[in-house]
Structures are given as structure tokens and as C-alpha cells.
Amino acid sequence: MTWQLDIPILTLVVVCAIGAITVKDLLGSAILFGAYSFMMCLLWAIMGAVDVAFTEASVGAGVSTVFFVAAVFRTTRRTKD
């Protein structure tokens, strides 16, 4: 395992995950969740699971971010809690 790549990406995964659940702006939260998915996709690719990485990139970082943005557009941008 190439730890020089793993450690920064894993750090970014944790930062994005914590950011996505603490940020008050839901649009920002959706974008951070997309960034989280992209970092996970990089991790899968490093571990050699190219099919999983492909799925994560298309579903996690692509379409689900669009769904979140559409949901934020139709509801409210600021979280209640």
C-alpha cells in the first residue's frame, strides 16, 4: 500500500465527512459530500478496486450530488438544527 498517497487522502476523507455533517449551509454540505465521494473513489482506485472506484465516481460524486442540489433547490438552504 502506498502510504504517502493514503495518509493525505484519508485525512481529506475525514475532514470532508466531518465538514459535511457540521456545515450549516446545506448546499455546501452537498458539495462536501461529493468531495468525500471523490476521495473515497481515489482510495478504491489506489487499492486496485477499479470497478468500485468507477461506481463511486459516477454514482457517489456525480448523480447523488445532483440529487442533493435538486432537493436543496426545492426545500431550504439552511438547516434547522
Partner: protein
């Protein structure tokens, strides 16, 4: 309540991280998973199914039953979104905006009874988002055919390279979503009607389950594609490869239609009038 939730999350996380110390280390050749089952897949996949990509063979052939219900779950997600969000009776908006295409003037029409059917020089625009973006529209119109071509390649080439029905279907659906985002929802719906999308959704799952049932009818196990050899006029090993392609097409259709369906329902609040 928030503190209680935090404590539960931290405790569960600590427990999960603690139990990972019992796992075999990453890529360990002597772990139970890589001593019994994996060698069979790695050594026998090519001679049993003639598919070079082992992941695709495991996903659609050896573990085909699992993938069939994954497709059904995605279909169920689309149906759930439809039942939760779709407004059955169409309510017209109070007013409509039209743009004169030659001068760029915007017209606001409040009395909807006097809107003529055929408007050559006017186009209807959304009431929430009305700027005219020539660059975005042109770039998206140029890009979408290439995205769709790439999606078809991913579906058809899943035997040899990473990819397959799920990824290709999502990319194909994303190209239609891009059309809906860059133009508006009505343009995208003219290309792929709501009813056709719903039918495609079910047809995809039907292709998968129907292939399995056909194998059953031909005298072998459910989803044992070598039974298709007599229909396709090939030997049983090539028939397994072709069977994988058939179910991948089914998965791709179902996933594409479901992604478009979910997006349309969310972005238009189930009204199908004005999208994102």
C-alpha cells in the same frame, strides 16, 4: 438528544475500529477469503465464461442472483420517489414567462386562456431562472452525444474493462439530467417522456429476471446462462459471456430510467412543470 447520539456514534465507531484488528491484513494471501473461493474465480473464470474481467463475471454470472435484486432495489427507489413526490393532478402555474427569441424580450402572461398554441418566435422559460446562457447550452449540446456514446461503450465493454450496466446506466442517465439542467425540464421530457421512462425502468428489471426464467425453462438453474446456448447457436461457454451482456443491458436500462425518474420528481416537486 444530540449528545446521546454523539456518544452512541463514538461508541459504535470505537467498537468497529477495535474489531478491525482481528481482520486479516490487506491483501493477505493466506486469509480465508483468498484461500478457498478467490483462487477458483481467478483461475477458472476465463475458461468457464470466456470473460477476461473477473469482476464482471462474478457480478453478473457467479453472483447473478445478488445483482438481480440490486437492480430491483434501484427500481424500488425510483417507484418510491414517484409515489412520494408525484402530484397526480396537474396544476397550471399562475403565470408563464415567454422569451422573444429574436430580440431577447421577456413577456409575462397572466391570463393563460389567451396563450396561442403555436408560438414560432417565442420560447417558454422557467419563472425562477430566466437568464439566456448561449455558452452553457451550446457546450452541453455538443457534449451530450459523446457522454452517451461513452456510456454505451462502458455497458458494452464491461467484459474487458472496468464498468458494466450500473456505471454505464448512471452515465447515460446523467447525460439526460445534464440536458434538463442546461436547457429546462420540458426539453428533456420531449426527448424521453415520463411514461416511456417508467416503462424502461420495469423493462430493464424484466430483461434480467426474464433471462433467468428463460434459463429455468430451458432445463438448467435460474440465471445459468449456458442454457442459452441452444437459442444463441453458440457453445455453452460463449453463451455465458453473451448472457452476461444481455443482463448488463437490462441493468443499464433500469438504472438509466430510474436516475432520470428520481431527478425529475425531485427537481420539479413532482409537478413536471419547471425543473432545476
Amino acid at each position: 438528544m444530540k449528545i446521546l447520539g454523539l456518544i452512541i456514534a463514538v461508541l459504535t465507531g470505537t467498537l468497529l475500529i477495535y474489531t478491525t484488528s482481528d481482520f486479516p491484513s490487506w491483501g493477505d494471501p493466506s486469509s480465508p477469503a483468498s484461500t478457498h473461493l478467490s483462487p477458483h474465480y481467478i483461475e477458472k473464470t476465463l475458461e468457464e465464461t470466456s470473460v477476461p474481467n473477473i469482476v464482471t463475471a462474478v457480478l453478473a454470472d457467479y453472483r447473478g442472483y445478488d445483482t438481480m435484486f440490486e437492480t430491483t432495489v434501484i427500481f424500488g427507489a425510483g417507484v418510491a420517489c414517484f409515489f412520494l413526490l408525484r402530484v397526480p393532478r396537474r396544476k397550471e402555474p399562475v403565470e408563464r414567462l415567454y422569451r422573444h427569441t429574436l430580440t431577447g424580450m421577456t413577456l409575462r402572461i397572466k391570463d393563460l386562456d389567451e396563450v396561442p398554441e403555436n408560438l414560432d418566435e417565442f420560447e417558454r422559460i422557467d419563472t425562477l431562472w430566466a437568464p439566456y446562457d448561449l455558452i452553457i447550452k451550446t457546450v452541453c449540446r455538443l457534449l451530450i452525444p459523446f457522454i452517451q456514446l461513452f456510456a454505451l461503450y462502458v455497458i458494452a465493454h464491461g467484459h474487458h474493462s472496468p464498468g458494466g450496466g450500473f456505471q454505464g446506466g448512471v452515465i447515460l442517465g446523467a447525460s439526460f439530467i445534464l440536458l434538463a439542467v442546461s436547457y429546462d425540464l420540458r426539453t428533456a421530457k420531449e426527448r424521453l417522456r415520463e411514461k416511456l421512462g417508467g416503462i424502461l425502468c420495469a423493462v430493464g428489471v424484466l430483461i434480467y429476471a426474464g433471462t433467468g426464467a428463460l434459463c429455468l425453462l430451458l432445463g438448467l438453474n435460474f440465471l445459468d446462462y449456458s442454457a442459452l446456448a441452444s437459442i444463441l447457436h453458440v457453445d455453452p461457454i460463449t453463451a455465458r459471456s453473451h448472457g452476461i451482456l444481455i443482463v448488463e443491458i437490462g441493468v443499464g436500462l433500469a438504472v438509466m430510467a430510474t436516475m432520470i425518474w428520481i431527478y425529475d420528481n425531485i427537481s420539479s416537486e413532482g409537478k413536471y412543470e419547471e425543473g432545476l
